[in-house]
């Protein structure tokens, strides 16, 4: 038994280290366990789907893609170890992590190694540190919050807002950004409610929102907590419009909250319900392979691979050093690269610009109310 185990282990180890000819090596470090497991698993599955699609069609410039996934356990200390390990293996591009704290601790390593890092973090400050190797896959909060604040001030015409946010790096970043943007537009924050990740009971928060009597409520929580908050706010009959981001009106929230989700509005950068046929087709392929509908992290992972494909094909060679330089200022259009789903432009900081939507949940479905053009236009 013992010998058999050792033999199996050795076989696995040998199989993994077997020399690979003309392959593009990508290394992904993601939150596959711990509190970020939903984020990381969606991200990983999106990557795997795109890699399988591209390899089926012959790869990039005739080279197959090989991707390894490492689990950061949602812990920055372990993320650093895994990124170090990944970089020691000289990947073409580093993918992930998704948590902003983990991105912060690993970005300098990728920069030292001069390897481009395409990550999922959304905190505003990530791309403001002048690291030329760091790229986003979604809007940073500094791009999305001004759009939400504008909507609250000009469309809803709210003078006062209650902000309900989850106290982790994602929620705190969003809360700080929206507060700043609302202040610019003379909208007062009358209740500033911090909640815990995984919080089950929002009754006290609902009472506080009611007492503050705001013109609108901005909700910035993870998907499951969003559903619980929506249910409680409806139960306590809060009449003010409930406005949020991608995480308030996503598919998962609608499933969990049922009727309580109806009427919730949000700004959506990337959604599987976007009124774009290519996105709908992606959602179906993903659901067929993994038996569930992805959240926006699934799309982010998927797009990261097609960004790599577009950049590599533009360069005409697999050049790790030239990658970051080529991607800065590049616009990728779906006409040239259908896998990119929607036109996207990268700026000099590694931030992206893309069309986005204001959507509302109507009758248990996310309905797009307004298409917000690219900011550069």
């Amino acid at each position: 038994m013992n010998r058999l185990t050792i033999a199996t282990a050795m076989a696995v180890a040998l199989g993994m280290s077997a020399p690979t000819m003309a392959q593009i090596k990508l290394a992904d470090v993601a939150e596959l366990s711990g509190p970020g497991a939903t984020v990381g698993t969606n991200w990983k599955n999106g990557i795997d789907l795109a890699v399988a699609e591209i390899n089926e069609k012959g790869g990039i410039l005739g080279q197959k893609i090989e991707v390894t996934h490492a689990d950061s356990q949602s812990n920055p200390g372990i993320a650093r170890a895994q990124v170090q390990k990944a970089l020691d293996g000289n990947p073409y591009v580093l993918l992930g992590p998704g948590y902003s704290g983990s991105v912060k601790v690993t970005a300098s390593l990728a920069q030292q190694a001069e390897i481009a890092q395409i990550m999922g973090g959304e905190a505003a400050e990530l791309t403001q540190a002048g690291n030329p190797y760091l790229f986003r896959t979604s809007f940073g909060q500094q791009s999305s919050m001004p759009k939400v604040a504008r909507y609250i001030a000009e469309e809803v015409k709210a003078k006062s807002v209650a902000v309900v946010w989850v106290n982790n790096d994602f929620g705190k970043g969003g809360r700080d950004m929206i507060t700043k943007e609302l202040a610019k537009r003379n909208v007062k924050v009358v209740a500033d409610l911090s909640t815990e990740a995984g919080q089950a009971d929002f009754a006290a928060d609902a009472v506080k929102v009611k007492n503050a009597n705001p013109d609108a409520v901005f909700i910035y929580l993870n998907e499951e907590e969003s559903a619980r908050a929506l249910k409680e706010f409806r139960r306590q009959n809060i009449q003010a419009p409930l406005i949020g981001e991608t995480t308030l009106i996503g598919q998962k929230v609608i499933e969990l909250a049922g009727d309580a989700a109806n009427g919730a509005k949000g700004h959506v950068g990337l959604t599987t319900d976007a009124p774009v046929p290519a996105v709908a087709a992606f959602r179906d392929r993903f659901a067929k392979k993994y038996n569930y509908v992805p959240d926006h992290n699934g799309i982010k992972g998927y797009l990261s691979i097609y960004v790599i494909k577009a950049v590599t094909e533009k360069m005409g060679k697999v050049d790790p050093k030239g990658f970051a330089k080529t991607l800065h200022g590049m616009t990728i259009k779906p006409e040239q690269e259908p896998g990119i789903l929607m036109e996207v432009t990268y700026d000099a900081n590694g931030d992206i610009d893309r069309q986005s939507f204001m959507a509302e949940v109507v009758g248990g479905k996310q309905v797009v109310k307004e298409i917000l053009p690219k900011m550069g236009n």
Binding site: S33, G77, A81, Q84, K85, E125, N167
Partner: protein
């Protein structure tokens, strides 16, 4: 085997172990060095908990919080331009005082009740790390924690920093070795085995209970002071209850109350999940199963197995000697 050869063998094994810890890293890449540095740091924290739990018998679920206090002290002080030594002094003093205060409930409650008191402290510490933004920068964390210089020698390179952590571990280990052999260590053990009897023999149980907490906690602080420059970034997420439970597991799996126990426990906790990564998605499940089976097989940890084996051998040798001596004794 005579007592002398046994001592020789033990010394030889120790020398081989130290040589391996010094020489093997020369062959490792940055990832391997990072993991080994992490092992050294976690070992220091676990040695501290082993003093509190293994020797003095006080269940603490707050060791992770002390690592956090040490890490934050190091991050805050060194990013202000002060040397790491200053952070070390502050962290050790702070953890000693807080550990001493946390020991007071231990004078009134024992075992799992005490675990709950320390658990509450652990949660409280996390909330302070996260919410007191003016001091800790909250959830965003503190970036750019510098690696120290020692007598003008920069320790930024992974290999040098590893040796620095290893040296710290060596010093802490030697200190713990001395402590458990001193009258203090004996008082700790008396406290664990039978507090009533210890008191009747004149051991100041009150002072030693507080001392056990304070010393164990300050070693947690030492580990934290090394953790911050290793990762070069600190946010509250690593210092949740999970770390305290992990450290508790290291002590128990290695062998609670054995001097080498925490080192082995940390080896399993830090390195085993890394070795098991070849099983991809299953690695944490395999790891959990291993720990469960190990503890079901030997509740006293790995060194408990060795201890039982040695005890059996000694018993066999003694009974063989007895039976060999028997015929001569009888006429």
């Amino acid at each position: 085997m005579t007592g002398r050869t046994k001592t020789m063998l033990a010394a030889l094994a120790l020398a081989a172990g130290i040589a391996a810890l010094v020489l093997v890293p020369l062959l490792l890449n940055r990832y391997g060095l990072y993991i080994l540095s992490m092992w050294a740091i976690m070992s220091i924290a676990a040695i501290g908990l082993n003093l509190t739990l293994g020797y003095a018998g006080q269940v603490s679920l707050a060791q992770g919080a002390f690592v956090g206090i040490g890490a934050y002290a190091a991050a805050i002080i060194t990013t202000q331009g002060w040397p790491l030594v200053a952070a070390l002094v502050v962290a050790v003093a702070l953890c000693f005082v807080i550990g001493w205060l946390l020991g007071y409930p231990a004078l009134r409650v024992q075992h799992h009740y005490l675990a709950f008191v320390t658990l509450a402290f652990s949660t409280l510490a996390y909330l302070v790390f996260r919410n007191e933004e003016w001091l800790t920068k909250g959830i965003y964390g503190i970036t750019g924690v510098p690696r120290p210089t020692l007598f003008g020698w920069p320790l930024a390179a992974p290999l040098r920093f590893y040796y620095f952590c290893l040296a710290a571990l060596g010093i802490v280990f030697a200190g713990a070795w001395w402590l458990v052999r001193s009258p203090w260590g004996r008082a700790f053990m008396a406290l664990r085995e039978n507090p009533m009897r210890a008191m009747s023999l004149g051991v100041d149980t009150r002072r030693y209970t507080l001392m056990a907490f304070a010393i164990g906690s300050s070693l947690g602080g030492v580990a934290g002071v090394l953790y911050a420059p290793l990762v070069e970034f600190i946010d509250p997420t690593p210092f949740t209850l999970g770390l305290s439970l992990n450290l508790l597991m290291m002590v128990i799996v290695g062998g609670s109350g054995f001097l080498f126990g925490p080192l082995l426990g940390a080896l399993i906790s830090v390195l085993l999940p890394e070795w098991l990564r070849f099983s991809e998605g299953l690695y944490l499940i395999v790891y959990a199963l291993f720990v469960m089976i190990l503890l079901a097989w030997s509740p006293t940890g790995i060194l408990g197995i060795v201890d039982r084996y040695l005890a059996r051998r000694r018993a066999r040798a003694a009974s063989a000697a007895r039976s060999a001596a028997m015929p001569e004794a009888l006429p």
